[in-house]
């Protein structure tokens, strides 16, 4: 059930929040747990059992880690817990890919291949597995105490706002909130506003861009002209940011309404001036996860330059693989690993001496090219798309001109997307307060009312437009009556 669906927005969400406040504090965790399991089962059916198994494994591992005294046995428990988590993840997420690769290799030497039913990928498995891993490792490191209550741990792992697309919330960050939280009106108000912004980002910007992206990426190569290819990847660059960060905004907003504060997941990644900076601003909960649970345990940057570079490449190989079981994602991850290594080897020093806009251009171009691997179905089609972007494709008949895609709606959403991927709006909001504080008496009130009113109008318009666009997505007319 996506947050940006009619059934979530107009049924599940109002019902859950209303019941949550009706039920009262005593049973609210168990209620949220049941609501989250229902939320998962609605889309994934019986795979909710898998989620339950994961919860069971990590709940027991946490308790065992805390109870064992000897270093040796707690090490063994940790290894076992990590192994079990990874086995679940590998089987359901990577088995198809591994088998495909093995078959490809087999086909080079023999005529036999292994045939097996494809395995369904349960949504959110990468997210809840990573949350679980952070929990058991933190308990092992004694950064946090194990959770004694099964329900509370289950809620931590399955809480619906973050269950299927993150952010990857650390247990330590919300342990106290699970135990006890109070919802102030301000939380609700902040949550609602954050949710509206996220919904608008997803429905009005990302979805609009997506329809052009889908059309452009499905064009046969000989019809993909250079301007169309660049438009397509520019749209996708903004689409994925607004889709993902919009989803995070909604997750943070909903969490807030229930009294949880999740950490931020994005910090205007497209204003970065280096790839290192980009990865500090993009999908922060994932990059810090890899930093804390992989890069640093591998030795981080403390064991010499060569080792650091290998660590970086290893980490980004896995970052790529985490995004999906295909060579495209691996190439995409390694691509960033390589740029990070190059920047470490001296490029960043060079960049610092460059004119600032050139640094931005450098990052944007690297990121745009990277997204081609992320969006294309196969490495082959990614290569084709890139060759179209750089003018290496011989074109046949061109059916569609650029103007076919670049309509008013797309121009508008592209413009808004570009503006909103910079901190301009945050800058204006910060300055509201400065202006108000500087003025005095009646003028300050009027300014306060003016800014408050503008904010209200803008937010409610975004909400109304999103709802209208969502309702429109269920519109399915026929020219003659369908009997």
């Amino acid at each position: 059930m996506a947050f940006s669906s009619i059934i979530f927005l107009f049924l599940f969400f109002p019902l859950t929040i209303a019941l949550y406040f009706l039920i009262g504090k005593k049973a609210n965790n168990i209620f949220l747990l049941l609501a989250s399991l229902f939320f998962y089962a609605w889309g994934e059916g019986f795979f909710v059992i898998l989620l339950f198994i994961s919860i069971g494994i990590n709940y027991s591992a946490g308790l065992m880690l805390e109870r064992t005294q000897s270093h040796r046995s707690s090490q063994l428990t940790l290894v076992a817990a990590i192994a079990l988590n990874l086995i679940l993840l590998c089987y359901w997420k990577y088995a198809n890919f591994i088998l495909g690769t093995v078959n490809h290799l087999l086909s080079l030497v023999s005529t036999k291949i292994i045939i097996a039913e494809p395995i369904h990928l349960p949504i959110g498995i990468s997210f809840f597995t990573f949350s679980a891993l952070s929990y058991v490792v933190d308990v092992y490191w004694k950064k946090t105490a194990a959770q004694k209550s099964f329900i509370d741990l289950a809620l931590y792992l399955s809480f619906f706002p973050k269950l299927i697309a993150g952010p990857i919330v650390r247990y330590a960050d919300i342990a106290d909130q699970i135990k006890q939280r109070s919802i102030k009106f301000n939380d609700l108000a902040e949550g609602v506003q954050r949710f509206i912004i996220g919904l608008g980002k997803k429905v009005l910007i990302a979805n609009t861009l997506a329809s052009s992206v889908d059309q452009i990426f499905s064009l046969p190569l000989q019809e993909l002209t250079m301007p169309i290819a660049w438009l397509g990847i520019a749209c996708y660059t903004l689409q994925i940011y607004f889709d993902f960060s919009g989803y995070t905004d909604m997750a943070i907003g909903i969490g807030r309404m229930f009294g949880f504060s999740f950490l931020e997941n994005f910090n205007y990644p497209y204003i970065s001036q280096s790839i290192q900076e980009f990865w500090r601003r993009w999908h922060i909960s994932l990059s810090t996860w890899f930093r804390d649970y992989l890069y640093i345990p591998l030795g981080g940057s403390r064991q010499g330059s060569m080792r650091t570079n290998i660590n970086l490449l290893t980490v980004f190989f896995l970052v790529g693989l985490w995004h999906g079981a295909s060579w495209n994602f691996i190439v995409w991850g390694l691509y960033y690993g390589i740029f990070l290594v190059i920047e470490r080897l001296g490029l960043s020093g060079l960049l610092m001496r460059l004119w600032k806009p050139l640094r931005h251009i450098y990052v944007i171009i690297i990121v745009l090219i990277g997204w081609v691997f992320f969006r294309a179905e196969t490495l082959h089609s990614a290569a084709g798309y890139l060759s179209a972007m750089f003018g290496f494709v011989r074109h046949g008949i061109i059916r569609n001109s650029l103007s076919m895609y670049l309509d008013r709606e797309l121009i508008l959403s592209l413009t808004i997307a570009v503006i909103c991927s910079t901190p301009i709006v945050a800058f204006i909001r910060d300055h509201e307060n400065i202006i108000i504080n500087k003025s005095s008496g009646i003028a300050a009130y009027f300014l306060e009312i003016f800014f408050g009113f503008t904010r209200t109008v803008i937010l409610i318009s975004i909400l109304a437009l999103s709802v209208i666009y969502l309702a429109g997505s269920t519109y399915n007319p026929f020219i003659y009556f369908k009997f």
Binding site: I6, I7, L11, L15, M404, G452, L465, A471, I479
Partner: protein
């Protein structure tokens, strides 16, 4: 104070948020269920039944979501707002099937009509050939029964008003499928489609011929089409003349049109147009009881008792504005919706004997190419059930539409072989091998059929030798000569067979068997005059021989003289000819099987 103001606005935002997300679910509960969406032109999904079993449980969420997506409160007004925002502000269509043109003109993009407009999906020669064969077959079949056939194409709106099509839908190839078809028929066939583009284009300078916000022509456009149809028909039926302007009323009205509605703009951009009606219509709706099972609205019958002509018209949504005028000219017209239906037409030909059959199709429906596959599949089905004779009919039908259809040739060959007609079976396999010299099926079956035929020839060769031996002892035995003739005929030596039959008759002038065999041998080599001469002689000696009447019917049928053939067939039945299986499968009678009279005979027999 600053906090307070901030909180007031926060309260407003939270309240409005709650209102906006709670109003739809509450309204869903309170309002009665909607069954039909007017703007979407479809039935809305109803609530799925909840059954507690693992199978149904799995699909329940998606079914419930379909239901909820169709039924949530404020759905229709919200969708209406989207139409206004998208179309009026952003100049973008809400659905891929409607194209926003220049100056608020709308075009329909269903059925690949703009791919066709742009010349992206030309017919290949094979498809053109399929069209040509289908139309020719239909015309020929109807002409054989004295019925005039007319195929009318209602042009797509973009063919008449291309100037409002957005520039980015430029033409890549000049010709649309319709234009290709016209050119092909012009060069390769005598059949003429009714091309209304020219009269409509001429008229558009004076009147609005197509609605701006609808896919159809206006009443003015429809009247031009009507006038052209009547002009065309009046060549053969001079009594037809276009209704005089003085008996028409022209008035204006304000209505939502279909493409506007599809965009979700009901009540937003009604169009004011001229409508034409008759002052005093003579035609009224008539009851039809020929098709009691037909879905409501699928067949309309109208007629005016001042006329004697009858017609069957296959129509789509372009025809209703023509219908009131056309109906005035006929005693009865059957309007059959949606597409040409052969079975319905066969029955109507029997029942009402139409003078005219009109098939009207909008240009975009020409996208579907007539296919030999349907009769072919029916044939396969029948052959599997062992009904070889009727299967042969269907394979032949498929081959009439597409003569190079290899699977049908192979199947026809097999069916003929099964029926014992090895000679014709071999011809079919040879045809396949001419098209595809290494076709395995044909190669294998040809070999088998030739081997079987050789075996038969060997058998008859032996019989011939035996009979020749016997004749050496008994040269004047009429019966032996007759038998030898038969053997020659079976072996394929018709000339020798004829000599033997003649000898047999000379020896015994009253031998009806020999006379019959002789006449049939002449018929086999298409010497129809001699055949008729001998059948005539037989009738003089035995005027009640039903077989003779039947054989004469066959000869006339082979000469394509349907009426005479039928009359002889009727006589044979009167004389108690009762081999009905033969009547229905005899290759010689294939020409008359199309006729209504023939069908009536068959039906009467089986009723």
């Amino acid at each position: 104070m600053g906090r307070l103001i901030n909180n007031v606005f926060n309260i407003i935002i939270v309240s409005l948020f709650i209102l906006i997300i709670c109003a739809p679910p509450i309204t869903t509960l309170l309002k009665s269920r909607s069954y039909i969406s007017y703007s979407e032109n479809r039935e809305l999904v109803s609530m799925p039944k909840f059954v507690l079993s693992s199978d149904t449980l799995k699909d329940y969420p998606s079914q419930f979501e379909k239901y909820y997506n169709d039924q949530f409160g404020f759905r229709a007004p919200l969708q209406g707002y989207l139409g206004i925002i998208k179309v009026k502000l952003l100049h973008k269509s809400t659905v891929p099937t409607v194209i926003l043109g220049k100056q608020n003109w709308l075009y329909y993009n269903g059925d690949y009509s703009f791919d066709d407009f742009r010349g992206l999906t030309p017919y290949n020669t094979q498809q053109l050939e399929l069209w040509k064969n289908t139309l020719e077959n239909r015309e020929l079949w109807l002409a054989g029964q004295g019925i005039k056939y007319l195929f009318v194409v209602a042009p797509n709106k973009q063919s008449i008003y291309p100037e409002y099509v957005p520039d980015n839908l430029y033409k890549i190839n000049k010709k649309s499928r319709f234009e290709q078809l016209l050119e092909y028929l012009n060069n390769h066939s005598s059949i003429k489609l009714m091309d209304l583009r020219k009269p409509l284009q001429e008229a558009k300078n004076n009147d609005l011929i197509y609605y701006k916000t609808d896919t159809h022509w206006t009443d003015k456009g429809a009247f031009i089409a009507y006038a052209n149809i009547i002009n065309q028909l009046s060549v053969r039926f001079p009594e037809l003349s276009i209704i005089d302007q003085s008996s028409l009323i022209v008035h204006q009205a304000h209505k939502d049109r279909d493409l506007s509605i599809m965009l979700g703009l009901t009540n937003q951009q009604k169009e004011r147009n001229y409508f034409i009606t008759l002052k005093k219509p003579c035609a009224t709706v008539l009851n039809q009881d020929i098709f009691p099972q037909a879905p409501k609205g699928s067949i309309l019958v109208k007629g005016c008792n001042k006329s004697k002509l009858r017609a069957v018209v296959f129509i789509d949504s372009f025809f209703p504005p023509i219908e009131p005028f056309l109906s005035e000219h006929f005693e009865s017209v059957f309007y059959v919706w949606n597409r040409y239906k052969h079975d319905i037409l066969e029955i109507l030909i029997d029942e009402i004997h139409p003078d005219i059959v009109i098939e009207e199709k909008v240009e975009r429906y020409l996208y579907d190419v007539p296919s030999p596959v349907t009769p072919f599949r029916t044939g396969i089905e029948l052959a599997r059930k062992g009904n070889t004779d009727v299967a042969i009919e269907f394979f032949s039908e498929a081959l009439r539409i597409y003569p190079q259809f290899i699977p049908a040739l192979n199947e026809l060959g097999l069916a003929l072989a099964k029926r014992g007609d090895l000679k014709n079976a071999i011809i079919q396999f040879q045809k396949v091998l001419q098209i595809s010299p290494y076709n395995n099926v044909a190669l294998y079956n040809l070999e088998r059929a030739q081997a079987d035929q050789q075996k038969l020839y060997d058998k008859w060769d032996r019989v011939i030798l035996q009979l020749q031996d016997k004749l050496k002892m008994n040269a004047n035995d009429s019966f032996l000569h007759f038998k030898l003739g038969e053997a020659y005929q079976n072996r394929g030596y018709i000339d020798k067979a004829i000599i033997e039959y003649k000898t047999a008759i000379k020896l015994r002038p009253d031998s009806t068997d020999s006379m019959n065999a002789l006449a049939r041998a002449y018929s086999q080599i298409n010497d129809n005059n001699n055949a008729l001469l001998w059948f005539d002689k037989m009738l003089k000696t035995n005027p009640d021989d039903a077989n003779v009447y039947y054989n004469i019917a066959c000869i006339y049928s082979k000469q394509h003289d349907v009426i005479t053939s039928i009359s002889w067939l009727k006589k044979s039945i009167e004389k108690k000819f009762n081999n009905w299986a033969l009547i229905q499968t005899d290759e010689d009678l294939k020409d008359i099987r199309f006729s209504a009279e023939y069908k009536r005979l068959i039906r009467n027999h089986y009723n």
